[in-house]
Every structure is written in C-alpha cells, then in structure tokens.
Amino acid sequence: MFSFQPVTLDTTSPDSEAALVFRSGRLVAVLTRLSDIHADLGGKWFLEAAFADVPAVQPVVFETMEQFGEWLSEEA
C-alpha cells in the first residue's frame, strides 16, 4: 500500500536524506532522516511534511521508514 521514493531534501541543514511516501500512488508524507546534529535522534526518520489525513501537529520520529504505515494505521 505504501511506497517510498528516496529524494535529497534541501532543509539548509545537514538533514538532506529524505523519502517521499506514497499511498496508492498518491503523496501523503515526506520523511527526513535526521543527521547527527539532533543528538540521540540522529538516524531516525522525522515526519517532515504531511498531507491528506496524516496528522502533523506533534513531531513524530520513526526508527525505520516502514514504521510510518503502522503509525498511521494506529492514528486513524
């Protein structure tokens, strides 16, 4: 159901590794792999931008990109 497309994101910070998240071919989120400027969060995937029904008020991080789908199911 979810597919991920690697992209390079320009955040003007070292956080540039990112992925577009598609659900049934439609873009629903952008995940960014946090760099080591974020201390303990370095290496985790941050919900950078959210579309459609993806809640985006609170900051969310995931250990892996794939956890995004599980989290969204729980939030729905």
């Binding site: 955040t11 910070s13 956080d15 400027i37 201390a39 900051p59 969310v60």
Partner: protein, 265 residues
C-alpha cells in the same frame, strides 16, 4: 513521540541563590524587583512603594513543569515571580499546547485576576520558581487607592498586550529562523531590563520543546534553526548557553525592533 533531548539544568542558578539570600534577610525584599519594574512604568511615590511592601503575601516554591494556575480555575491571588522562569500556555481540546508568553523574575504573572475571576489560560513553571501570592482583592484595593500604582499596573498589562501582538506576528508571519532569532532577542532584551544579566550571553531556561511550542515549530525545526544561526555566525551555542556574537545582525535576521517592548526593554 519526540522527547526533549537536551540535558541542561543550570539556568540562572546564581540569580536564584542571590534572591533567596535576600528573602531570608528581609521578607519585604520579595517585592524589590517588582517595585523596580513598576517604577519604570510610572513615577511612583514613596507611599506607593510602601503600599506594595505592606501587601499581604505568601511565598511558595514550585519545581519545574508545575502548574501554578490551570485554565478555568477560580483566581483569588496574583503571582509575583521572584526567581525562576514561567510560561503561560493554552491547549487545544486534543491536548496540543501553544505557549503564549515567557516570564521572568519581577513579572506579575496574572495581573488580569485583579478584575477577571477565572483563569483563561495555564501558568506553568519552566524551571524551579519562587513566587509571592498576593490576594487579588488586596492588590485591587491598593490600586484603587494609589493612582500612580494603578497607572503602572495598567501600563504593565498594555505592554503585555503589545508583546502578545508581536508573538501573533512572529508565529503567523515570520519564517522559522526569524521566529527563533526573534524569541532569543526578546528574551535577551527583557532579561537585561529585568536586571538579570547582559543580553549578549545567557543560559536559556527553556527546552527546545518549549521553544517549539512558543514558536509553532517542531523541536526538530528549532534544533535546525539554532544550528543555522550558529552556522551563520550570529550566535555561539554550547547546549543551553547562548552567546549573541553579532547583535545588530541577529536583530536583522530576527526582524527584531524592541519598540514593541516599551519600558520592558
């Protein structure tokens, strides 16, 4: 969920020690800082100062992240902050928090309770804080008897309102880097005016999560912006210790003009 991931804890420690020593020497000194503040707002006479010092009060200490007032509560006292830092915030029905102001020693945290009987927002400590609780009816009575004191309190609420207006502009219309820089400039300027230290170097008492809640950003974005401000060479940061190395450039980045602070800067 993202946790606060910075680990500082030495905010304005020296300020706190000094204040507590003064309070032990003479409890009336509890109002020294607030009297200094009110003197900037109106030409108080000795009788005004005496009237403040004669107010009944109770001294309380609260740990960090402790609610002093909760939205909806009946308000019978006004809090004068003596040491530490406090924020006002409101929350959505789903629990998301927006911090609407930061407060420092000498601030009267809920002056609106002179005339409004219920709290319309929350007051929560950021650090350990000591405060004096003054019965609202006593402060109201003194304000009615002393016109210059009433003028100072009125002006204080007007300046509060001006700061709120600036925060709406900051959260609504400035980009992320400017928002963070603006918050730092305001904190530095108010802190200096309150006699808490020079604006160029200070320890930030708030966490990145609290800064995020005050600026409508995530703590990840706050960390990025602090990183960028340091990379731009306008600040030097070591955990919570911040040095503004180029004040005029920082003000340009922040779009900061202290005029809205009136006598608070």
């Amino acid at each position: 969920m993202l946790e606060t991931y910075t680990d500082f804890g030495f905010y304005c420690f020296i300020d706190r020690l000094v204040d507590e020593e003064n309070m032990t020497a003479n409890d009336n000194d509890a109002f020294t800082r607030v009297i200094h503040k009110l003197e900037r707002l109106a030409p108080l006479e000795q009788a005004d100062r005496d009237a403040i010092r004669a107010l009944p009060f109770r001294i309380k200490t609260a740990p960090p992240n402790h609610y002093l007032v909760k939205e909806g509560a009946a308000a019978t006292d006004c809090c004068v902050l003596l040491t530490g830092y406090v924020c006002r915030h409101k929350t959505t029905s789903s629990g998301d928090r927006q911090i609407v102001s930061f407060h420092m020693p000498g601030d009267i945290l809920d002056l609106q309770h002179l005339l409004l009987s219920r709290a319309d927002h929350n007051l929560e400590t950021i650090t350990e804080a000591t405060f004096a609780l003054v019965p609202a009816e006593d402060l109201r009575r003194v304000a009615q008897q002393r016109p210059l004191l009433a003028e100072a309190l009125w002006r204080d609420t007007l300046i509060d309102a001006s700061i709120f207006r600036e925060w709406v502009l900051n959260v609504g219309r400035r980009d992320a880097k400017s928002r963070i820089a603006h918050m730092l400039c305001e904190f530095a300027a108010r802190r200096e005016k309150a006699g808490l230290g020079p604006p160029e170097r200070f320890n930030l008492p708030m966490t990145q999560e609290q800064i995020a809640d005050a600026t409508g950003l995530t703590s990840v974005h706050v960390n990025r912006m602090l990183f960028e401000l340091a990379a731009d060479g306008v600040i030097v940061r070591d955990k919570r210790e911040v040095e503004i190395t180029d004040w005029s450039r920082m003000c340009r980045v922040a779009d900061f003009n202290a005029a809205y602070l009136h006598e608070a800067a």
